[in-house]
C-alpha cells in the first residue's frame, strides 16, 4: 500500500506539470460545460452534450493517459529504477491505475452535475462511469505493457481510442456503425447513461459490457505474463 501511495503521489505531482496529460483530463469536461451552456438546438435530447462527452471521455482519457504514462516511464528508464526499488510491477500498475481512475472520476463529477440527475440517478451515473473508466484504464495498461516507447504507444492508442470513443457518436449517423458499435462497452455505456432517469436499463447492455471487461482482463493477464511490465 505504501508503494502504491508513493506512485500515486508522484503521479499527481507529475501531471500538474505535464500539460499533455492534464489536457486529456480536463478537455471533455470543459467542452461539455461550454457546449451544454451555449448550444441549444430544437428537438435535441436533454443534456445531449454532457452524456455524449461523458462517453467519449471514458473511451479516451483513461486509455491514452494510462498508456502514455507507462510508455514514458519505459522510454526514460524511470520504470526500471522503480522496479529495482522495492516496487513490484503490480504495485506500479495499481498506483498509476488508481491515479488515472481517480482523476477521471473527478472529471465524471462534472458530467454528472451537468446531467442534472437526482441523488439516486447521480450515484448510478457515477457507478457506470467508474466501471467504464476502469475498463479503459485496463486497455490503456495493455497498450502500455505491449509498447516499448511513447511513439509506439501513441500509434497504438489512437486507433483504439477512436474506436471506443467515437463509435457511440458515429452510430447515430450510420446503421452499420451502429450495429458494430453494439459490441463495444462504450456504446453500451452510452445507452445506459441515456436510460438513466428515462427508462429501464437493458440487461443485454450490462452483459456486453461485462464480456468486454472479462476480455480486457484476459488480454491484460496474457500481455503481462508474456511481456512483463518492462
Amino acid at each position: 500500500m505504501k508503494n502504491i501511495s508513493a506512485i500515486f503521489i508522484k503521479q499527481i505531482k507529475d501531471t500538474l506539470k505535464n500539460k499533455t496529460t492534464l489536457i486529456q483530463f480536463i478537455m471533455f469536461p470543459i467542452l461539455a460545460v461550454i457546449m451544454e451552456n451555449s448550444v441549444k438546438i430544437e428537438n435535441m435530447p436533454e443534456h445531449f452534450f454532457s452524456k455524449l462527452f461523458a462517453v467519449m471521455f471514458v473511451g479516451m482519457a483513461p486509455l491514452t493517459c494510462m498508456s502514455s504514462i507507462i510508455s514514458e516511464e519505459k522510454e526514460k528508464g524511470t520504470l526500471r529504477v522503480l522496479m529495482m526499488s522495492n516496487v513490484s510491477p503490480l504495485e506500479y500498475l495499481a498506483g498509476v491505475g488508481a491515479y488515472v481512475w481517480t482523476v477521471c472520476m473527478a472529471g465524471s463529477v462534472v458530467f454528472g452535475v451537468l446531467g442534472n440527475y437526482d441523488a439516486k440517478e447521480f450515484i448510478l451515473f457515477m457507478a457506470v462511469m467508474a466501471a467504464g473508466v476502469l475498463l479503459s484504464v485496463m486497455i490503456g495498461a495493455i497498450i502500455g505493457i505491449l509498447c516499448k516507447n511513447q511513439m509506439a504507444a501513441t500509434s497504438a492508442a489512437i486507433p483504439v481510442m477512436m474506436i471506443f470513443s467515437f463509435m457511440p457518436m458515429l452510430s447515430m449517423f450510420n446503421k452499420t456503425i451502429s450495429k458494430a458499435a453494439e459490441f463495444f462497452y462504450t456504446q453500451q455505456l452510452n445507452k445506459i447513461i441515456n436510460s438513466i432517469g428515462n427508462k429501464d436499463i437493458e440487461p443485454i447492455g450490462i452483459v456486453i459490457a461485462a464480456v468486454n471487461f472479462i476480455a480486457a482482463v484476459i488480454v491484460f493477464v496474457m500481455s503481462y505474463k508474456r511481456n512483463g511490465l518492462e
Partner: protein, 283 residues
C-alpha cells in the same frame, strides 16, 4: 575480508556474440572495484547480471550473500545503482525526484535533504530535473542511489561525459563513501580515474578478464614497459627503454653535459591496455 560481490563462471551471449566468457570476479567489502575495458566490452552487462536485471547463460553471481537471481524487491534497498539509462523524472524537482524513493523505502523527509547535501545539490531542491546540467543530473542520480544509505553501490561510468571539475567532484564523493565503509563497483573506460579511485580492478577484454588485481600490481607486471625520458639541452627529447644499455647511453650523455632533464616513466593502466590490445581506449 569477506566478499561483497562475486561471480563464478558467468557467460552471456546476445545472439551469436559471446559477450562474457566464464567470468570469475570477487569484490571485497569496503573497497572500490573498477571494471575497465573498451566500450561494448560487457561492463554494463556484468552490472546487470550482478544486480539481477539480466540472467546469465551459465554461472552464478552473488551480491551481499544472495544469489542475484533470487533477489527480492526488498533486497534492492541494500544496494544503490546509478546507470546511464536510469532516467530522472524531468518535470519533477530534485527534492520530489528523491522523495518518491524516500516514500517507497519509508524514509523521513530529512533523508532527501541529506542525500542532496551529500552530492552538493543543496540550493537546487526546487529545480526541475530537466533544467539541471549533465553534471548535476549525475549528482542527482548518485543521490538517488545513496538515499537508502546502501552498503554496495553500482556505478556505470559515473563520470562519463562530465567536465573535469564535475568528474572530480563525483570522484571525491565516491572516496567519501568508501571512507564510510561502502563497497563501490564502478565501470569506466577512463584509466587514470581507475588508477586514482580503485583498490582493485579487472580489465575486461574480448569477453574475458585480461588482468585482475590492484592498479599497482597490474602495472608492476608490465615493468618492462618502464621508459626513461631525456630532455636534451638542444631541445630534443629521447625515450629509452629501462635497460643496462640505456644506462650506458645516459652516462655518456651526462659526461658530455648534453642532458637538461631526465625522468623515468612508469607503466600506467593505459600502457597496460595498449600492450594488451594494441590500441588506445576511447576517452
Amino acid at each position: 575480508m569477506e566478499h561483497a560481490l562475486s561471480m563464478k563462471g558467468i557467460s552471456k551471449s546476445f545472439g551469436e556474440k559471446n559477450v562474457l566468457k566464464k567470468i570469475d570476479l570477487e569484490v571485497k567489502s569496503g573497497e572500490i572495484f573498477g571494471l575497465i575495458g573498451p566500450s561494448g566490452a560487457g561492463k554494463t552487462t556484468i552490472i546487470k547480471i550482478l544486480t539481477g536485471q539480466l540472467k546469465a547463460d551459465s554461472g552464478t553471481s552473488v551480491i551481499g550473500g544472495i544469489d542475484s537471481l533470487s533477489l527480492k524487491p526488498e533486497d534492492y534497498g541494500g544496494f544503490g545503482i546509478m546507470m546511464d539509462n536510469f532516467g530522472l523524472y524531468d518535470r519533477l524537482n530534485c527534492c520530489d525526484n528523491l522523495k518518491i524513493f524516500a516514500d517507497i523505502y519509508g524514509l523521513n523527509k530529512n533523508t532527501v535533504h541529506q542525500a542532496l547535501s551529500a552530492v552538493g545539490l543543496t540550493g537546487n531542491e526546487k529545480t526541475a530535473a530537466a533544467k539541471l546540467s549533465k553534471g548535476m543530473k549525475s549528482r542527482l542520480r548518485l543521490a538517488r542511489a545513496l538515499i537508502t544509505d546502501p552498503d554496495i553501490l553500482f556505478l556505470d561510468e559515473p563520470t562519463s561525459g562530465l567536465d573535469p571539475a564535475s568528474a572530480e567532484d563525483i570522484r571525491q564523493m565516491l572516496l567519501n563513501e568508501k571512507k564510510r565503509g561502502k563497497t563501490i563497483f564502478l565501470t569506466t573506460h577512463n584509466m587514470s580515474e581507475a588508477e586514482k579511485l580503485c583498490d582493485s580492478i579487472a580489465l575486461l577484454l574480448d569477453g574475458g578478464i585480461a588482468e585482475y588485481g590492484s592498479p599497482t600490481e597490474i602495472c608492476r607486471r608490465y615493468d618492462h614497459k618502464k621508459t626513461i625520458c631525456i630532455h636534451m639541452k638542444n631541445g630534443t627529447d629521447k625515450i629509452l627503454p629501462h635497460s643496462p644499455k640505456s644506462a650506458e647511453a645516459i652516462a655518456y650523455l651526462l659526461s658530455k653535459d648534453l642532458i637538461e632533464t631526465i625522468h623515468t616513466s612508469e607503466p600506467t593502466l593505459e600502457t597496460v591496455f595498449m600492450e594488451l590490445t594494441g590500441k588506445e581506449l576511447a576517452s
